[in-house]
């Protein structure tokens, strides 16, 4: 087991353990401990975690607050427990990814590691291509485009995206073939 896998195992055990804790005080203490242990990256990771769950948890919290108010049920304790737990779990996930190389941690599962490698590579290809198309479209349209223009652009972009992506993945697969990745 390499270092990344040890961290992954520790993370998994911690995450499961956290879901058996039902006292907001303990969860807050756990979050405080994790923040201390995360070192200089703590505020960046905390901001990322809060932003990742903000919209989502706010919508659930508001919905529950409304229902609980209607049914005259306790609100604060439930919301504190739920939001602290979610924040701690998301923070730990981001901390893990910040600390280890994900592909190293997946090394024990070759198929998963391969799919992850290819998907991460493809995501980068998509991002570059979408940026290119967006900038080209903007430069061709000094005035606001019509809905028909937008639709035509989206169709062309979609087709090009698939072709370019396939070409890129094909090159990766050929490289993998030349290195014996598909040999039985």
């Amino acid at each position: 087991m390499n270092r990344a896998q040890s961290w992954l195992l520790l993370y998994l055990l911690t995450v499961v353990g956290i879901t058996f804790v039902h006292q907001p005080g303990w969860l807050a203490a756990g979050l405080g401990l994790a923040l201390l242990a995360a070192g200089p990256a703590r505020w960046r990771l905390l901001t990322r975690a809060v932003l990742a769950l903000l919209l989502f948890n706010v919508s659930v919290s508001l919905a529950y607050a409304l229902v609980a108010w209607w049914q005259v049920r306790p609100v604060a304790d439930v919301l504190l427990l739920m939001n602290l737990r979610v924040l701690l779990l998301v923070f730990l996930g981001f901390w893990l990814v910040d600390r280890i190389k994900l592909l190293e941690a997946l090394a024990g599962w070759p198929l998963l590691a391969m799919i992850a490698t290819l998907a991460i590579g493809q995501v980068a290809v998509y991002r570059r291509l979408l940026d290119d198309f967006r900038l080209a479209f903007r430069s061709r349209n000094p005035v606001s485009p019509t809905p028909v223009d937008l639709l035509r652009h989206a169709g062309a972009q979609g087709g090009a995206l698939l072709d370019k992506s396939l070409h890129s993945a094909d090159q990766v697969a050929q490289a993998m073939r030349s290195r014996g990745a598909f040999d039985a």
Binding site: V60, R73, Y126, G158, L162, S165, A173
Partner: protein, 214 residues
Amino acid sequence: MHIPDGFLSPQTYLPAWGLAGVAWAWAGRGLARRLDETLVPRLAMLTALAYALGLVMLPLPGGTSGHALGVAVLALIFGVRLAFLAYSGVLLLQALLFGAGGITALGVNALALGLVGALVAVAVRRLFAVAGDSIAVALAAFISLQVSALLVALLLGIQPTIARREDGTPLFFPLGPEITVPAVLLPHLLIGIGEAALTVFVWRHARRKGWVSA
């Protein structure tokens, strides 16, 4: 419509992880022989598409998010087993890199979205094959999304019943199925139309390229 971390009780996610483990073993059996330099680029391309689709999400008060999945297109082109594995990889990446979904919820999300979504898509396409290729593919994508959404809504909705304190206050996700089912399903009726259109678009592209037979 991933379920995030922290909303599912261990009574739900631990058995789901066990079940997903069995399903992953089944899906992965003999797969290495199928993967070659022809299949892998196509799989990578559509897996990345599913990954991108999953990140454009709208939070729903029912405790999850609304977005297209891309599972149906994976299942229709590559089959259930490969689609399930690829989508599980997508869920893992989204959970770790973006905090979308989560590790504890991975088993439930993989089963509800990846496995059930793929199975329903393939079954519906076969069922409606006589209606014509594009209609069958569109229905497969639409219905598979709705079934997955319903499953996710029900799993969230049972949390206040199966995990609560003695006084009845919920320990995990606090809203019941009377809220989660409409809150999750109604937006997905609209999202399903987009998913169906996208699936037909990619399916036609795949057919033009000769990846699938009509």
